[in-house]
Each structure stands twice: as C-alpha cells, then as structure tokens.
Symmetry: D2
Subunit: 383 residues, 4 copies
Amino acid sequence: MGQELKVRYAQVRQRSLELVAPLQPEDVCLQGMADASPPKWHLGHTTWFFEQFVLRSPVSPEAWGFLFNSYYDSVGARHPRPQRGLLSRPALAEVLAWRQRLDRALLSLLEQLEPGDPRLELVELGLQHEQQHQELLLMDLLDGFSRNPLEPEYGPEPEAAYQASVTQEPTWLQHEGGLVEIGHPGGSFHFDNEAPRHRQWLEPFALSSRLVSNGEFAAFIADGGYKRPELWMSEGWAVVQARGWRGPRYWRDGDEFSLAGRQPRRPELPVRHLSWFEADAYARWAGARLPGEAEWELLAPQLDQAFGVLWQWSASPYRPYPGFAPAAGAVGEYNGKFMSSQMVLRGSCFLTPPDHERLTYRNFYPPASRWLAAGLRLARDGG
Amino acid sequence: MGQELKVRYAQVRQRSLELVAPLQPEDVCLQGMADASPPKWHLGHTTWFFEQFVLRSPVSPEAWGFLFNSYYDSVGARHPRPQRGLLSRPALAEVLAWRQRLDRALLSLLEQLEPGDPRLELVELGLQHEQQHQELLLMDLLDGFSRNPLEPEYGPEPEAAYQASVTQEPTWLQHEGGLVEIGHPGGSFHFDNEAPRHRQWLEPFALSSRLVSNGEFAAFIADGGYKRPELWMSEGWAVVQARGWRGPRYWRDGDEFSLAGRQPRRPELPVRHLSWFEADAYARWAGARLPGEAEWELLAPQLDQAFGVLWQWSASPYRPYPGFAPAAGAVGEYNGKFMSSQMVLRGSCFLTPPDHERLTYRNFYPPASRWLAAGLRLARDGG
Amino acid sequence: MGQELKVRYAQVRQRSLELVAPLQPEDVCLQGMADASPPKWHLGHTTWFFEQFVLRSPVSPEAWGFLFNSYYDSVGARHPRPQRGLLSRPALAEVLAWRQRLDRALLSLLEQLEPGDPRLELVELGLQHEQQHQELLLMDLLDGFSRNPLEPEYGPEPEAAYQASVTQEPTWLQHEGGLVEIGHPGGSFHFDNEAPRHRQWLEPFALSSRLVSNGEFAAFIADGGYKRPELWMSEGWAVVQARGWRGPRYWRDGDEFSLAGRQPRRPELPVRHLSWFEADAYARWAGARLPGEAEWELLAPQLDQAFGVLWQWSASPYRPYPGFAPAAGAVGEYNGKFMSSQMVLRGSCFLTPPDHERLTYRNFYPPASRWLAAGLRLARDGG
Amino acid sequence: MGQELKVRYAQVRQRSLELVAPLQPEDVCLQGMADASPPKWHLGHTTWFFEQFVLRSPVSPEAWGFLFNSYYDSVGARHPRPQRGLLSRPALAEVLAWRQRLDRALLSLLEQLEPGDPRLELVELGLQHEQQHQELLLMDLLDGFSRNPLEPEYGPEPEAAYQASVTQEPTWLQHEGGLVEIGHPGGSFHFDNEAPRHRQWLEPFALSSRLVSNGEFAAFIADGGYKRPELWMSEGWAVVQARGWRGPRYWRDGDEFSLAGRQPRRPELPVRHLSWFEADAYARWAGARLPGEAEWELLAPQLDQAFGVLWQWSASPYRPYPGFAPAAGAVGEYNGKFMSSQMVLRGSCFLTPPDHERLTYRNFYPPASRWLAAGLRLARDGG
C-alpha cells in the first residue's frame, strides 16, 4: 500500500474526531429522529465498515457488529435504527479506543497487501464512506439540536463556502441537447451507481447560473406558495398538510437555525433545507422546472455554486443507469437497493469534505426529506 | 354532437350499471381499505365528473359535490377518502336517480353544442374516466370481498381474456435500440400524460414474449424469494417484513381468491396481484429486469398478452415526458400531480373495457400496491 | 317452559326487527368506528348468543360463529371487531333467515325443557343480552350517521322519555349515610356483576334531584370549561387536547345531531353524549362531584330522571363487589373481565327497552367514551 | 428554620448526586420510553420544583422552567415528555451548577422564614418529591439500560433489602373486618391523597404473610398463565397479545436483567416488574385475589416484606378518599388529577429512600405499567 493512501487514511479518520471535538458528552448520543443517527454511532459505524469489509476479523467486542451495522442484510442482523439514540453504551471512550485498535490493525494489514489486492479498493470505499458520514453527522446533529428549545450552537458553520455563496443576478446557460454521454468513465474511484457511462438523448434546455435564494423563496411563500395545492405534487401537498409546513425546515420568523445557532436569515444566500416537494413546487410557481440529472451533469462545469454550497434536487428519480451492476459482495448493498421512491441530488454541499465531490456523484433522498443541506436550481426547456 | 358519441355515451354509462347488478345491497357500500372505494361511490363520482366539468350546473342535492369529488383541489373541499365506506347515504336508489337526471341533462346540453365546443372533448374525457372507474370498481370490490372470511363470489370473471391467456413457452423479442420515438402523436383521444411524442435513446434490449406465470412465480417462492433480502429493494424488503408477505396477494394455499371466489390456482396462467417490489425482485432472481416503458411501447405490437390480460409493471418511475403540459383547468389535476413515487404500468387488464386500451397508455401505482390486476413481463439488456 | 317466557321471547326478538325496519339497505352494514357495530351484526350476534349458549348445535352455516362471536375467548377465535363493517356478506336476508331458523329451533327445544333446566336461565340471559344490543344498535347507528355530512335521520327519537324530561329547578336530596346495603338480593334476574348484595359504609351525602341540563352545560363552556386544565383529570385533559373537544359530542353550533337528524338544541333538556371526563370536569366546576354508585342506588327511588332518560356517570370505577363470582362457563366472560379502567353508569336511557331497567343495574364504559346516551347528576358531601 | 430541616435538605439533595455518580456521561441523557425520564432531567426537575414553588424567583436561565416542568399546567407550558431524551443541553455540568445556585439561594431564604411560614411545608414537600424521583431515576435507568443489547450494569442493587427478602413459607393473616378507619390522621407530613382519615366497612379477609416468589410465578407461566384468556381482564389480555408478553418484563431465559446487569434468577426472591394485569391474573390463577388498599393498610404492621422490598399492587383503583381536597395552589396538581384509570400500590420498594415510607402511602400507576419495582401479595375473602 502506498504512502499516499496511508496519509489519506489518517487524514480522513482524524477529521471525524475533529468533528465531535466541540460537542458536550451528552451530544454524542443525540438522535433527533429515526432517519438520523447520533455522532457516536457515526464514529462506530464507519469503524465497523473497515472492520467488517476490510479487516474481516473483529477487534471489537462481541455484539458491537450488531450495534453498528447500518443496513447490510447479508452480513447479519442489526440493532433497529430508530433506537440508536438509546445506546448510551458503549461509552464514547470505548468507541474511540476501538477506533484506535482498528486503525492499528488496518494499517498493519495494509502493509502486507500486494498491489491489486481487492481490499485496497475497499479501503478507499471505506474512506469515501466515512466522508459521507462526516457530512451526515453534522446534518443529523443539526436536526437533533433543532429540537432543543435552547437552540444550541455547534460552532461556526464548518466550511466558509455557504456563507460566501452570495447569489448574483442569475443568467440562463443553454445547451442544445442531442445525443450525450453521462456517468463515470471509470479509471478512478466512483460509487457503483455512477456507472456505466452511457448515452442519453436530450432536448434543448437551459439551467440557471445559480441557486434559488432565500429572498426569492420568501416571495414564493408571500405569494401563497404553501397554500396553493395546484403548485404541488399530490403526495407533497398531503405532506404539507399533515406536517403543517409553512416554510423551509429551519426558518424561524426572520431567522434561520443552523449549526451556528439561530442567526438572522440573509436573503441573498441560497435557500436550504427544503424537500424535493418544496423545490418542485417552487420551480412550478416560477414557471420553470428542476434539472434532469443528465442536464445538470453536462452543464455543471459552467455553473456557479455547483459544488460546495448545497446539494441540488434534480427532476430525476433515483434509478439504475442502463447496464448498471451493483458491486460484488455485501458492499453491493451500498447503493443499488435504494433505487426506488427517492430523487437524485447533484453537486455537493458546504458540509461535504472538499475532496469528496465529483461531477458524476449521485446523491439520493426521499422526496419529503428536509434535514439534508439541499437547495435548488431552476431549469427550463429550450436551448 | 354526433350520433356516434351519443351511442357511446349510453353504452359506457350503461356498463357501469351492469357491473353492480350482481351485488347485494350492502356490497355497494363496501370499502375494504383507504385506497379503495365502494361501488356506489364509483357510480356517484363518475356522474359528478360530468356534472362538474361538462354540465357545470348541479342536478344533485347540495353537498353531494363534497361527497363525490375525488381529488380535485381546485373545485373545492371533499369528503375524506378513507371514510367513503361510511356513506350509507345517499342510498343507491338516490344515486341511480341522480345518474338518470344527469344523463338527461347532459344529452340535452349536448344537442346544443357546436362542433369544436371544448365540452365535447370533456364528454369524451368523462367517458374514458368512467371506464377507468369500471375497472377500479371491480378491483376495489375484489379487495373488499377478500377481507370477508366467507370468501364471497361476485360471479364469473367479467372477461374471458385472463382465463384464456394460457402461457406458452416464452421467447425473447429483440430490439436494436437507438434513437426512438414514444408517446401519443395526437389527433385522437389520449390522456395528457401520454404526450408529447418525443425522442429517446435506447440501448439494445429484448423482451419476453409473454407474462410470467403462476408456476414460474411459485418456483421463485420455493427458492426462498420472500426470504432473501438481496433480491429486493430496501424499501420493498421493509414492506415484506412489515406486512408478512409470503406470496401474491390473493394466493391462498394452493388456491387463488378472485372475483369468481376461491378457485384452484392454475400454474399456466399469468401471475397477478403482485406489487412492483415483487415484480422487481422476481426479475432480479430470474437474472433479468423489468422493461422500461419505452421498450415496452416499441415492442408491444409483437408481444403476446400485451393487452387485455394484466397490467404490466415497468422499470420506469412515473414522471412527465419532456415538454409535458397538464391539461388546462381543473382537469389538469387528472394526471400531472401524481408524478412522484409511483411506477408506470403498461398494457391493460382483463377488467379493462375493451375499447379503453392504447399503445401509449400510462397507468401508474405506488410500488407497494397489490390490489390492482398487475403482472409482469421480463426484459434484458442486449438486442 | 312457560307461556310467559315464550311470549316475552317473541316480543324481544320482534323488537330487534322493528328497529332496523326504517333503515336503508346500506345502513345495516354501517360501522362508524371500531367501538361500534353495524345493525346487521347486532342482529346476527344476538342470534349467535342463543345458538351458542342455549341451542348448542348450529343452525347457521360454518364460519358464521367466527363472524358473530363478540368477545367470548373460551368458545373460539373471532373476526376482528374493527372490521365488522366489511362484512357485506352474509346479506341481511340471510341473517334474517337464520334468525327465523334459530327461533324455531329454540322454541322447539324449550318445549322439552323441564323446569329448573339451566338453559331456561340462559334464555332469559339471551333476552336481556338482546335488549342491551337493541340500545347499542341505536347508539352505534347514531355514531355512524354522525359521520355523514348529509346528517341522515333515523326517525323520531324512539322513546318519548328524553324529550319529555324537561328539567325543573333542582333540589338536593339528602341521605345520612351509615352502614348501608347495595347490590341485587337475588331471587330474580340480574347480571352477575350486580351481586352479591353487601354492606358498605357511607358518609352523609346529597344528590341533585335531576340531571344537568344543556343550558347549564353551556354555561360551563362559556366559562372556559374546555380550556381550563385545572378542572380536568390529567388523562381527560390529554384527550381534550388530542381530539379537539369543545363541547358534547353531537353539539353542532346551536343544534344537536340526534337520531331525529339535526335539531335545535333545547336548553332545558338534559345534556347528553358526554364522556366521564367531561362529567367529572363539569362537576368540579360546579363545586360538586359525581355520585358514588352506592349513593345513587340508595336514593334513586326518590330522584327524578333516574330511569329512562340518560345513563348517569358515577364516580365509581367498575370493580367487583366483595364476594363477586362470575357466572359459570363461557357466560362468565359476560361482565367480569371488563372490570378495569372503566367507570360505572347507573339508571337507564331513553333507548333502553322499558322492561330492561333495574335499581342495581351496573353499566360501564371507558371514561373517554361519548357515543353512549350518557348524562350526569351532581352529588355533594354532607347530608 | 430548624437545623434538622437543613441537615435533611442537604442529605436528600446529596443523595441525588450520589445516584448519578456511577453513570457514564451519555447515560444522563438516556430516555428509554415516553413514560421514563433521563437522569439529568430528574436532577433538573427536582431543582425546578424548589425554584418554582419555594424560591419563586428563578436562578436558572430563561426557558429552563419550560424544560423542567413536568406536568403543572397552572404554572405554564412545558416541553413534551417523550422528548426529554433529546435535551442534550443544558449539559450536566450546567444542571449541577444550577443545583448549587438553587441550594444556596434556598438555604439563604430559609434562614429568614418564621415558623409557620407555608414555604416550610413546601420545602418538606420538595424533599419528599425529590425522594420520589430518586426512586424513579433508578427505575427509569433500568428501563433505558434494558433496551441496550450490551446489558449494561449500573452497579450492585442500591439497597440490600430486595436481595435479603428471601421468601418463607407463607401463612394467611386474618382480619375480621367491620367498620375500620384508614388514611393519614394528620399532624405530620403526608401527601394530600392519603387524607382524610375516614371510615370504611370491610368484610372478613386474609392476606398472605409474604410476596409471591419468582418460583411461584414460574409455575403460573408453566401452567399456561400467559396463554389462557380466562385468567385475564379483557384489557390486559389485549395488552398481552399486542406486546407479546410471555413473562415479567426483565426475565431473560433463566436470568433476570437488573441494575446489577444480567443475573441468574433466584426462585426464592419475590417476583418483580410485573403489571397490575399480570398480578391480577396470577391471583385469579392461584384462587385468590389482590388486597384492597384498606385491607393492606390494616394488616401491614403484621406482614413480612410490607416495606422496602417491592411496591404491592392492590385491587383498588386510584380514586379520592371521601372528603378529599387537593392541596391549594399549583401543588394541588401533585396527586389529584391522576385519579382515573390507575391502580393503587402500597408499601415501598428496595429503591425507595428508607425514610420515605409510610403506612398510608398511596402510590399509583396505570395497570399495564411494568417498569416500576412492583410485586404482588395475595388476599382472600373470609377472616
């Protein structure tokens, strides 16, 4: 194994520890809802991933595999997700000690691996996986803190990107369509769901140069956006009624709740923490639509705020590309089995580790999800 | 208005009455679940559709509009769907009298309409709508009867097509793919969701000449099909666990429950009443996949059992075609607002009125739905 | 068997048929909620009771016992209560035919019974049971109709008693307390829960001569009765919040919904269809309390509106009397197993068959129930 | 204020801190279910009680009153109980600092109080209240730990009483009944629900000299106790089915989960952690019944294991004594508003602080509750 991978391994693993450093002890067990996980669980699960798929001989006590498996049916039963917040034990200190044991054992194993050993690719997968969880850890924490009337503050928002992404006057970037290619060409790391690269026919279209802003979204609300069923998918309208949505998830009067606590809402920043249903309704109200994921992938290099600001809801359901084959073995459960009833998001967000973004990256969430750092970009027909 | 439309109007409306003729009085109020509606409600709702969108001046008592609106938000509030079975009043006799009043008023109005009057198109839409509900009425009734331990019998299955569709040895029909066109070309009746006709790029593929049979599906079950999570979408597997699915909805030991009551299950007939999740899992087990809706549309003229047997689950999420525009006015709610979290079915089924099928027809249901008369056909990559 | 019992049998059974005579066919299958049952089910269940416990050899088709058992675990499994409304079959005509078969078989059996045969007592129990269901049938029907926006009308309220019970200025009837006896002394029909007659010590108390009126209850509401938690049991207050209670169940603006349809509410009539929680809160607001069941039983002969108007919530949880022993056999499930988390009501109501009331009668319902015809009478400490 | 009260105040408050000393930091936020509360919340709520009702001028930050109010409607809104586990903030250190501030302020206030000041009684109420929560804290913690597959251990069971309470061969202690008096006579601290002392008539009865043992309860299970509906209240049987009860809550194979972790179950120890429904069913199976609370109170001085071992379910619903008046002001919500749908328990348990037990003490829980340290003692009719 190359020195480069070792360094990267150390950096990625270290970053997880840095993320929990500002927390109070009780925070590490906080699970605000069934969809989210406590910080300590993220630390354990990412460690379990290496132990299970790379090391393959446990350095954790018996039963910890049961606790920290997320959704891999093929490697055994698991603790119910909604109850992760009840795991006050193992205590954080024990989890951290396990991380150290695992790191030592893994680095030692890797010393012995020949180039081409499939476990090398699984190490990289494990690092990408941990980076995904670093982003999730913060989004989950925000959800948890948002349920506390004291409006706790984690710290300054971790990356400057979001706060710096002041929106300019938007322009439309055009594409003539035709027979195009999207998807990852291979030759470097990518998730299985980004492949194979394949052809697709597109009609002419245009994308907005930037994301929709808080100020623009406020105009949608002022125009009755949350009260007009004709703007919504039927399923979305039912959710609006059932949950009493009246604005993006973390808007509070004129403020916004964030990892930096409650802050005045700045109209010029991109609107965030809305569901696909809200993004779709806004686009309809604006006389536009959401971008198809192929459209986005083709124009992204020319767009502002494509990466590092907010995930961007696409118009595309999450389904396999033509010729898609899941990765072999248990890691084949990583992506493929989620390809129903979810929508694709593209780009990356201000919580995404900087080296964890890719033009062909396909993120995905159910259309009613709001706790992720998602925004929207408009599209329209015609070149 | 032409004599032809008058005749057709009379025929379609008459057929609804024939469908309820074999029922006991209490049956007309039977609603087995929130997704289904009682027969009497179907009779009322289809009448309301003409009254609301064509006649536009009520011949029904006040408040009936509230009771018989299905999901049209733009024309006002409505009675909650799960409680339709609680509407023992208006009694059937009153609903039938209303149908007669409406028919008279509508035929009288139509006498006066000039060719080209938009209400003529709405009459046709109303008839197509009533035909959809004729099919639904029987599927909903089957659901309701299935919850009765006495296993009631409606009568012989309404159309011979299903019982006659004995499966032959299947063959693969191939298509070289390329730039193709699908969707309705216009010039005759179609739902808005079938348009516009548009181009799409397809890779080479093949479709099975016929539907999967009961016997084949039994082999899937015998091979542990309902016990192997690796065959399922994650969402589907959760449904299998939560609802305890062990086979298609109406299989009972070696028999099958149907509108003809409990009957021995014939292995050579197409398997029916399964969800998209089950269809998808079966295809994965068989080393195949479900057809994309474009694939199906291109090859349908060459397929056996394409129409009149069972709706066929496709691999395609229900989303708008490029350039889709919903119909103007309240009938724009007919299709467009359901384009999330549902899957497309193609073809038609043995309960579909014979003149109500179309190559470009896009039916759609949530992926866990099983009460519709759906089956599956296999597809694979490569010409 | 005496001629008298035969006559009584015929009368009681006949009355059930008269109760359903005014109904539309669909009404007989109407079940508004899980706690209520459709009229047809009541007709079937009361018949099943005689078949199961007296005749003991079925004259009904197989599986009907499963459908019409209510809660007798010791005689076998049963159809789930919340799904009784889904039993469109057996059709009413079949149930009525069964009633006739059963009546013939039962009368024939009874011809042969010697005096003292325990089945004679079970016939009487079956008749009392059917009378209870006659009352229930109408209360359940009112619940079902209340869910229909058309506000259907069953007919004039069945008995004149309620409408005639105009409230007079109340007085307090006093009792000096001491060592008293309550409960049924035996020697004639009574339910097992009314026995044994036993001693109890009471402190001096007084009861109001009449029931609380609509007008008085309106004053409670006007004084913020439903908005002041200090007036309520904690459990009741939670129910008020969760269900949004703002008044008695069938109050609609200035009107009241009843078996006679929507009618102007008369302030001088006793308030009805309220839960124990509401009765208890009203009493606290009025500076009084509810009567203990012993208190009620002692003074009832001197009270107005004790019988035939409304059931009266007592302050007494439904528990066994000292020395209580349930009846032998399956009919021991009749009362005893419900002696937790319910409150006793005393008297009878305007829907109770006139010969079905008794000084020692103990009716019981959970404290949040409102669909029964219940009102309240005040009590206070001190003779 | 006397020196004695100061000393007692310091001791009681100190004990709360000792109880959380063995915990890991994450444990203090653990809430296993909606009925339970996290240890940190108990520490905060008991402090809030003194601040709100005695000090009456906050030494806590704004909004903490909202967080730590339990159920006192008359002093304002409160944080939803099921979400107490989501309050990772305020951190434990902040809560402990608040406790110190409050203690100082309170002791300072008390220096100035004249004898007879009603706040002196409220201090005593606050101490009794904190003692109740000390017991609750441990029962809640056991519930939380029981949901962790690692089966965490809190430490040796806090008091030796339970482990020392080996059961002897039971005898029946008899009482001839008659006109008796129960309830607190006044003159020293008691909760409002224990008064007034009042007369009651009892028939002759007998109580078992000791509690039912694990071994005896195992015989009930072996005899089909959890499978025979005739032994159960109807409501209890529904709970048994719905929750899949097959034994007392913490029985695990031949072991028992406890604050000492998983331990072999000792047949000679009293059975614990069962609901009223289970206690009632066991008594019926044993041909006995549960004691009325008056019966218990009369014979308790002669019973073994009356105090300090397990709370004992009585046959008595929790209702006010004749002449009961709740305490004035907000503390009137302490007991009175819970007097519906709960059952009385008598005695005390091994987690009860030793100076917190009283002959007339009325504890109360809903009949399906199992997380409290409750056992049962048999009673029977006849002296």
